[in-house]
């Protein structure tokens, strides 16, 4: 069970969280202006990195907030978490 540092509540056990998929996927401002292929990419195409991955989590059974997290998919170590509007830590 991961120990995930919620930006608001501090480190909490993974079972309080819900995974939210890849981070930093911006919904197109005007979806109607996006062609089918680009829209399909937005819906379905995701990175699958070995190593550092920016992903969304929600502290579902805690403060309820969505946030972003840099996790290493090999070691499961978490380099940091940050609020949705913030830039990823280095």
């Amino acid at each position: 069970m991961l120990l995930i540092p919620c930006p608001w509540c501090g480190p909490r056990p993974e079972n309080e969280f819900r995974y939210g998929g890849q981070a930093h996927l911006a919904r197109p401002e005007d979806p109607a202006a996006v062609d089918d292929a680009a829209w399909g990419d937005y819906l379905y195409t995701r990175d699958n990195p070995k190593g550092r991955h920016a992903e969304r989590w929600r502290h579902l059974h805690g403060c309820g907030r969505f946030f972003n997290c840099i996790r290493d998919t090999v070691t499961d170590r978490i380099a940091g978490t940050y609020k949705p509007a913030e830039a990823p830590p280095i």
Partner: protein, 1144 residues
């Protein structure tokens, strides 16, 4: 009481406490402090089991958890039979009943041993190579035969009646292994005041020191030093004996399995048998020691063969001589200590055989001085003896030495198993597992690792030992065993390499070496050496196989813990009791399937219920519906983006059916959106999707459309729902509604009014197509309303009738007609897509080519041509009864109204096939059906409304609060109801609300503020829970008025939770049986509050005193949470009251 091999004195056993036990058909005696293995050896029992594959006689190899051979079954009564326990770890207690395994019919005469004679035909891969053809023989013949022949103990045939517990724990330092290094590390860590957990798999701490009475540390005999050191540890150190650290997981989470009662003749009632600890450690000190390696030579597996250090342990710790005449064979100095000690104890040591060319050093010279012959650069070439070794032949082929014991040492393997799983977390290895042999160095390094200055320890009585070298590999020979537990020999490794396997991982799988329950603790290094010799490589280049958890086997009960029976998963219950209903579980709720009268079948009851709704009046408990209050000036804009419809045109007092799409354009949920005020909506979701829809909405509010002034509050448990449906429903309801004209209420409207004296939200809508109402009312009053309506001859109907009634109207049921690939248009609901309101979630996908194809699966009706036929849900639909599938049946029932079977189905291009005949293939033949429109029963005309005089509701019936089992150290009680407000607001509004209600809303996460009788709990950066005494009626209005120009959301949620209080010195401990948070007062101080999980229930946990916690539990989960806490309290129940059952 004979115990012929017990020494006259010495050891750590208690000779004043004799213990009687049985092994197979023999009754034997031992002492308190014995293991089963030491007691058997004291009684000269050496043959204790038969091997896995060849049924060879096997004895006791070791004195610890690495034991591969001496596996036994312990029988503690019905359902309490545990196979494959290591005799070296079983503590002796009165009445212990152990039996040997893998022998037919008896241990001394075993028919299966014939497999040993056939050894040459059981090479690696034997099973795969031999039992290939014919395929049909596998299930019937080969597999049963192989399963019968192979294997060890038998699985118990009954359910396990024991209790098992889990415990979440946090510490600064976890020390794994309580030998010399572990204890010294604990001394070092304890001195810093750190929270320390020290665990050891054995019953007593001390490790090898317990076998070293001749060694002194700071003047204490080693076993006495252990006791003194443990006694000097501070209160911040938790000692866990009988506790195996079995696995390391991400985030420095370590799994520990603690054995609590197996060593007791009469365990206390309520005590779990084992406890699985989830330890979250700041850092880990691994002091797991080292395991001595056996040597590989022909015939090295007979009873009487033992690791040299184990013989010293049996002698010094247990006062047992392991034989009368021993031969020591070694590649390591440490075995010379065994030779000298056994000699001193009166055991004849016939010879020491040393693989090394020139053994020298003090340990060697001490043995030489005793006159014991030493054969250098020599090994054993063979052994003899039917059930125990009686002689060895040296590899020179000439020297034969009579003996009954062979002590082996091939050097020591550090126990790095867990370190290999730690994935780079903060771990330190100390002692033998770090390769440190010298005791004083071990102790010094370990105190430093613990966090203190390196300690200095005066160690005396230990000879200097030369480092060992890897032993020379034995030549391939059928009976030179590398892996005892899985019966793998050097020849098997040779065969595997000859067949092309050279990777150690492949060798492992092909030969099964290291894959038994001991995970190759005694065989891994020898395997590597043997393989290296076969392929002429340096052993250091071979590499290791993966060290997987568990370190030693963990019984299934321990893994399952408390998640059994009622605690397996919470079943949420409605506030309306339905004792006369047939229950069913749906989406985690217990629901009423139907309400049969005496003697009535489910089918008959369902038909009666359906007809009552169509012709008269019926009511269903729909309390499980998800309900969300959506508040804020931008609420309508937000709903327009979430649902397909246009809600800016919805007037207050109106409601509308709504569809929710995923961004991919497929239907995810449906429900009713009701507008209570310009900025206030009440939205329902399906029962199963309540959590998903709230999560989905929060996602878009927080990350997709930030800036919208909208807040969400779940009110699923704030409102019970009675669906009152049927032509007579208005007539039934009207006498109880004092404040509005029912007749003036249009279809799809909502009113906030009263049912008698109960405040309700009344919806004029339904899921049956009939005239009807959904009455949203406080759960505390729901039973009263339900019973009152029942007295008006309203028929209760269950989920079965509900499904039929909605399907007859062609209404979809999410999850049945939808599966995540179905669009609104597929369902015939394309009219619900608002085209001119602007963008909304899923809209862009609707124009993708795939979603607009004419041959998409479309929802249609199917009528079997044989009216009595009811199709199977999920059945395929075809043109001709075979060939390609055109779709499938999604819902199928018998309709009492129509007097026939009918179905809904998703069929390719279905709407263009109406009137067509299709076939549904079934095993008994194809069923012919006709495609129809999906509406089977026309919507009935409304009856004129006839006003009726008012009637009173039944009086309220008080329900007693549950009473907890007495336990002074941890008390549990249900608290009186309170007024609860959910406040969601931005910072400015929050301050204003706090001022208005007289308690400031805390801005520090997870903290509370108490002012007078009110409390404000921080639940999220824009969310608070306000608590006030029950009946604080004006509070909500005060809070709502406050913000004026700064919008916010205030929702009364008084009914949503019930509060429990758990208090006493054991309160935090009991919570940690189900809650993974660190509840140490430093981590979770008084005043801290947070949502968290207790078992599988989301609760609000609030520490209001050092030993007092309040838990706000969603009311449907109170029985589950209560049962969890009672289960955790059981081991602390007051003894006089241990039989008192808990009230639910």
């Amino acid at each position: 009481m004979t115990q012929p091999f017990r020494t006259a004195s010495g050891g750590q056993i208690d000779r004043q406490r004799p213990i009687r036990f049985s092994f197979d058909d023999r009754t034997l005696d031992g002492f308190a402090g014995d293991t089963l293995a030491s007691a058997l050896l004291a009684n000269d029992v050496h043959l204790v089991g038969r091997s896995f594959k060849y049924h060879r006689p096997r004895g006791i190899l070791s004195a610890g958890s690495e034991e591969p051979n001496a596996l036994v079954t312990v029988d503690r009564g019905p359902g309490r039979v545990t196979p494959n326990l290591r005799a070296t770890q079983i503590e002796l207690h009165d009445g212990l009943t152990a039996t040997s395994q893998n022998r037919v019919p008896s241990l001394r005469f075993d028919l299966g041993a014939v497999a040993g004679l056939a050894a040459p035909v059981l090479p690696p891969g034997f099973v795969y190579k031999t039992f290939m053809r014919p395929v049909s023989f596998w299930k019937r013949l080969y597999e049963p035969a192989i399963r019968h022949a192979a294997g060890l103990g038998r699985a118990p045939g009954q359910g396990d009646p024991d209790r098992y517990a889990h415990q979440y724990a946090h510490c600064d330092v976890l020390i794994i292994g309580g030998g010399a290094a572990g204890i010294a590390a604990a001394l070092g860590a304890s001195a810093t005041g750190a929270r320390v957990i020290l665990c050891d798999e054995q019953a007593e701490f001390g490790g090898s020191l317990l076998s070293e009475p001749g060694v002194t540390i700071d003047g204490w005999a080693a076993p006495d030093w252990v006791r003194e050191a443990l006694a000097s540890l501070g209160e911040s150190v938790t000692l866990l004996p009988r506790t195996t650290a079995f696995g390391a997981y991400p985030g420095n989470l370590i799994g520990l399995a603690q054995r609590l009662t197996d060593h007791l003749a009469q365990p206390a009632p309520g005590m779990p048998r084992e406890r699985l600890w989830h330890v979250r450690a700041g850092r880990v000190i691994l002091a797991a020691g080292a395991i001595e390696r056996p040597l590989v030579f022909p015939g090295n597996d007979r009873p009487g063969m033992m690791l040299a250090a184990a013989a010293r342990t049996y002698l010094h710790r247990y006062g047992v001589k392991v034989g009368s005449r021993a031969v020591v064979v070694t590649a390591d100095d440490s075995a010379y200590r065994a030779a000298a000690d056994l000699h001193a104890a009166g055991v004849a040591v016939a010879a020491v055989v040393d693989l090394r060319p020139k053994p020298i050093g003090p340990a060697v010279e001490a043995v030489r001085a005793l006159g014991i012959p030493i054969h250098a650069e020599m090994t054993i070439g063979g052994t003899a003896g039917p059930r125990r070794v009686d002689s060895v032949r040296l590899a020179d082929g000439q020297t034969i030495i009579a003996c009954d014991t062979v002590l082996m040492s091939g050097g020591w393997t550090p126990s790095v198993h867990l370190l290999a799983q730690s994935r780079g977390e903060a771990w330190t290895s100390v002692g033998a597992c770090a390769g440190t042999i010298d005791l004083a160095t071990c102790l010094r390094d370990a105190t430093e690792a613990g966090g203190s200055q390196p300690g200095t320890f005066a160690v005396a009585g230990l000879p200097e030992l030369a480092p060992s070298a890897l032993p020379l590999p034995a030549l391939p020979h059928p009976k030179a065993f590398v892996d005892f537990q899985n019966d793998v020999t050097t020849r098997d490794i040779a065969t595997a390499t000859a067949e092309g396997f050279v990777s150690i991982e492949h060798i492992k799988r092909y030969t099964t070496i290291g894959m038994a329950t001991d995970q190759g603790k005694t065989s891994n290094i020898n395997t590597i050496v043997a393989l290296a010799a076969q392929i002429a490589q340096d052993p250091r280049a071979i590499g290791f196989t993966t060290f997987r958890p568990p370190y030693t086997p963990v019984t299934f009960g321990t893994v399952a813990g408390r998640c059994r029976g009622d605690l397996f998963a919470p079943i949420r219950t409605s506030p309306i009791a339905s004792a006369d209903a047939v229950p069913e579980e749906a989406a985690g709720w217990q629901r009423a399937r139907c309400y049969p009268r005496t003697g009535e079948t489910i089918a008959a009851a369902t038909a009666r219920e359906c007809l009552a709704v169509r012709n008269d009046a019926g009511m269903a408990d729909a309390s499980t519906l998800g309900k969300i209050e959506i508040i804020g000036p931008d609420a309508a804009v937000f709903l327009n983006r979430i649902y397909t419809g246009d809600f800016t045109t919805l007037e207050p007092g109106q409601c509308r059916y709504a569809l929710l799409l995923g961004e991919d354009g497929f239907v995810r949920d449906d429900g009713i959106v009701a507008r209570l005020a310009a900025d206030r909506f009440h939205v329902t979701t399906t029962t199963g999707n309540a959590a998903f829809v709230l999560h989905h909405m929060e996602d878009y509010l927080q990350t997709g459309f930030p800036g919208l002034r909208v807040w969400l509050t779940s009110v699923t448990e704030q409102w019970a729902v009675i669906a009152l449906q049927g032509p007579r429903s208005a007539e039934v309801l009207a006498p109880f509604i004092p404040d509005i004209e029912l007749g003036a209420m249009p279809r799809m409207s909502v009113r906030e009014c009263h049912l008698g004296d109960i405040p309700i939200r009344l919806f004029r809508c339904g899921f049956t197509g009939e005239t009807g109402f959904e009455i949203y009312l406080p759960p505390d009053s729901a039973q009263r309303a339900w019973d009152t309506l029942r007295q008006r001859d309203v028929t209760s109907y269950g989920t079965e009738a509900m499904h039929i009634l909605r399907a007859e109207m062609g209404f979809i049921h999410i999850g049945q007609e939808t599966d995540g690939t179905v669009t609104a248009d597929d369902l015939g609901l394309g009219w619900m897509i608002s085209r001119d309101k602007g963008d909304f979630i899923g809209n862009r996908s609707l124009s993708l080519p795939e979603l607009t194809r004419a041959d998409r699966l479309q929802l249609v009706g199917l009528l079997p041509n044989e009216p009595a036929m009811v199709l199977e849900e999920g059945a395929q639909v075809t043109e001709a009864g075979q060939g390609p599938s055109l779709g499938h049946v999604t819902s199928s029932y018998r309709s009492a109204t129509l007097g026939r079977g009918f179905a809904l189905a998703l069929v390719a291009g279905g709407r263009s096939r109406i009137g067509a005949r299709l076939r549904v293939p079934m095993p008994s033949g194809a069923i012919e059906v006709t495609v129809t429109d999906r509406v089977f029963v026309p919507r009935p005309a409304e009856r004129p409304f006839v006003p009726s005089p008012p009637l009173p509701l039944l009086p309220a019936v008080a329900r007693p609060a549950p009473v907890a089992r007495p336990a002074a150290s941890v008390r549990l009680a249900a608290l009186a109801p309170a007024t609860l407000l959910s406040v969601r607001a931005g910072p400015g509004a929050a301050t204003a609300i706090g001022m208005a209600i007289g308690v400031l809303l805390p801005t520090v996460p997870c903290r509370s503020v108490i002012a007078r009788e009110r409390a404000a709990l921080w639940l999220g950066p824009d969310e608070w829970l306000i608590q006030a005494p029950e009946g604080s009626t004006g509070l909500e209005a005060l809070a709502r008025r406050a913000p004026a120009d700064r919008p916010a959301s205030v929702v009364d949620v008084s009914q949503r939770f019930r509060a429990l209080e758990i208090a006493g010195p054991r309160a935090a401990w009991c919570l940690n049986g189900f809650c993974a948070l660190d509840l140490d007062p430093r981590a979770f101080p008084v005043g801290m509050c947070t949502r968290t999980l207790l078992g599988q229930a989301e609760v609000v946990l609030w520490r209001i005193g050092g030993e007092v916690f309040h838990i706000d539990v969603p009311r449907s989960l109170v029985p589950y949470v209560w049962a969890c806490l009672e289960e955790a309290r059981l081991e602390f129940a007051d003894e006089s009251a241990s039989e008192t059952p808990a009230a639910g």
